[in-house]
């Protein structure tokens, strides 16, 4: 009963946020500085009401409450209704303008500058072509592409569709990737002898994943589908294929590289899996060098570079509010990085000694998210799908706690 109410609440709150974002320009759609054409607004633009930041915060908190109730009642929920709700939530978000981020325009901008103007995304700053119709929607101005060559080459295929067509095509790709993650969670939980519903609900109803990752149309959803594909192949005993998929995930976005050591350590045939992963990586590298030259290799060090950045919503920065520092000053960053490296090494050691590699990778991802000085809301998708495969409740609890943190630091300041 409460479960049904919570599902209805999630759908209603998502629909409210999306229709408000589509109806009037507001901070929900950062791309609005480029204009607010119909193709950006989407079809849900007819309600004509305004949500103030405090309204948006309240709706987020309502979604979070519904999520927690749904998780608590998940065993009582009919499977069809749960899956139907997840599909409905994704469908609503697909129809939305990009929420709380305009990153997808950055992806498409690099693709357009390469295909239409012959510029190298790894050597040319974003928004370099001011006369391009996508320019007004791009918010990055001084950034060469930090994404993997596979992703970059994939976006080239969208360019012939034009700006509006490529935006909708990319939205469709991200939405389908997230739904495919739901499918893989279901299959892998069954393969691991677990009930699929709780894992599917942990990911598919997660308000941070839904609004920030799917609603923001971030390529992290694509990366996680490839990571989850690699995990599924490993679980099915197809270790070489899993290693290939793991390396390809890194070629989408190098953040996936954190999972690869665990995938290799968790393999029954470690040496063979390592060889296949390295061979695939070498192939990707060769294609990158041919397509983009040496500059393309910079994408590999994205995680390292992010440790030099400072986001006020990271855990170290938020701790500073309690302990008396501002942002993530260098000593705090050094301590956090050291703890992070030690934590990840500990997880790797446990995997080496036989611990479940998927769970260890999830714990390592959590360590990274907690200790990084650069934490964006949609990075939650790095953790939740892996946590959804865990056997025990501790990882699910940790993923929920991290979700609550990500939402709280962004919504609570808007309430007063």
């Amino acid at each position: 009963m409460f479960g049904l109410v919570s599902l209805a609440g999630l759908v209603a709150a998502t629909l409210t946020i999306v229709s408000a974002a589509a109806s009037r320009p507001s901070q929900l759609v950062p791309a609005r500085f480029g204009g607010f054409p119909g193709w950006l607004r989407g079809p849900l633009d007819g309600v004509d009401y305004v949500l103030f930041p405090s309204d948006i915060a309240l709706l987020f908190l309502l979604m979070t409450a519904c999520y927690l109730v749904a998780l608590a009642c998940v065993r009582a929920l009919p499977a069809g209704l749960l899956v139907g709700t997840i599909v409905a939530l994704h469908a609503i978000l697909f129809l939305s303008p990009p929420l709380l981020s305009s990153d997808m325009f950055g992806y498409l901008d690099w693709a357009r500058m390469a295909v239409l103007h012959g510029l190298n995304p790894y050597a040319t700053d974003s928004a370099a072509v001011v006369s391009d119709p996508i320019y007004g929607f791009v918010r990055w101005q001084r950034l060469t592409s930090p994404y993997g060559p596979l992703f970059t080459l994939g976006t080239y295929g969208l360019v012939p569709l034009g700006v509006a067509g490529s935006v909708w095509a990319f939205k469709l790709v991200v939405t389908l990737c997230s739904l495919a993650c739901v499918g893989l969670i279901w299959r892998m939980r069954e393969a691991r002898g677990l009930s699929p519903l709780s894992g599917v609900a942990l990911y598919g109803l997660n308000p941070a994943v839904l609004i920030y990752t799917v609603g923001g149309f971030h390529n992290d959803a694509i990366m996680m589908l490839v990571v989850m594909g690699a995990a599924a192949l490993m679980v099915a005993g197809r270790e070489p294929a899993g290693a290939v998929a793991g390396s390809l995930a890194v070629a989408v976005k190098s953040s996936a590289g954190l999972v690869i050591p665990f995938l290799i350590l968790g393999a029954r045939e470690r040496t063979r899996t390592l060889r296949v992963a390295l061979a695939t990586g070498a192939g990707v590298l060769a294609v990158s060098l041919l397509a983009f030259g040496g500059e393309a290799l910079d994408f590999i060090n994205v995680l390292g570079e992010q440790q030099t950045l400072d986001s006020p919503t990271s855990v170290p920065a938020q701790l500073g509010a309690l302990l008396g520092w501002s942002g993530s000053p260098t000593p705090v960053r050094v301590v956090a990085s050291t703890l992070g490296v030690a934590g990840i090494a500990f997880c790797a050691l446990r995997t080496w000694r036989g611990a479940d590699w998927i769970e260890s990778a999830a714990w390592a991802t959590l360590v990274l998210l907690v200790t990084s000085s650069w934490l964006l809301a949609w990075y939650i998708v790095w953790l939740v799908p892996l946590a959804a495969l865990a056997r025990g409740r501790a990882l699910a609890g940790a993923a929920i706690a991290m979700t609550l943190f990500v939402i709280a630091v962004r919504t609570l300041p808007n309430l007063w």
Partner: protein
């Protein structure tokens, strides 16, 4: 109460909540202070874009100060589309240069606007492409 009715009740409650949110109408699509501020911000972005286009350099702080000031020309009844303003923009660069420009601005029903100025050439040379392109300062567009 059956579960379905609970779900319906939640949807109805949320419907009431959203109905209580401030409804917008044509009459509040923009205001002179809001448009004045937004035209200034849009001009600043256009100035940065113009600099980027002609020099390939981006400087977020190229302008030290921008001020917009708008006055209505045509504000038709709520059911009519025409909302037009004349806006003047004055700016000071970080290096001490000063300038101004005027725009005729059309505002749509969502408050988004397009400003056109005849004081700038329609095309400027786009350095990265080595060919002329539309001048970002001749036509500025944004939403509040």
């Amino acid at each position: 109460m059956k579960p379905a009715w609970h779900a319906l009740a939640v949807v109805a409650m949320l419907g009431a909540l959203t109905a209580g949110c401030q409804r917008s109408s044509d009459s509040d699509r923009t205001s002179v202070p809001l448009l004045s501020r937004e035209i200034g911000l849009a001009y600043e972005r256009a100035y940065q874009a113009h600099m980027r286009m002609t020099t390939q350099r981006f400087d977020e702080y190229v302008l030290a100060e921008v001020a917009g000031r708008c006055g209505p020309v045509v504000i038709s009844p709520a059911d009519r589309p025409r909302w037009e303003f004349v806006c003047g923009v004055a700016y000071r660069t970080r290096r001490g240069g000063r300038g101004s420009a005027s725009y005729t601005v059309a505002v749509d029903r969502r408050g988004c606007f397009v400003g056109r100025s005849s004081e700038y050439p329609a095309q400027v040379f786009e350095s990265v492409l080595r060919r002329p392109g539309p001048n970002p300062l001749a036509r500025i567009q944004s939403c509040p």
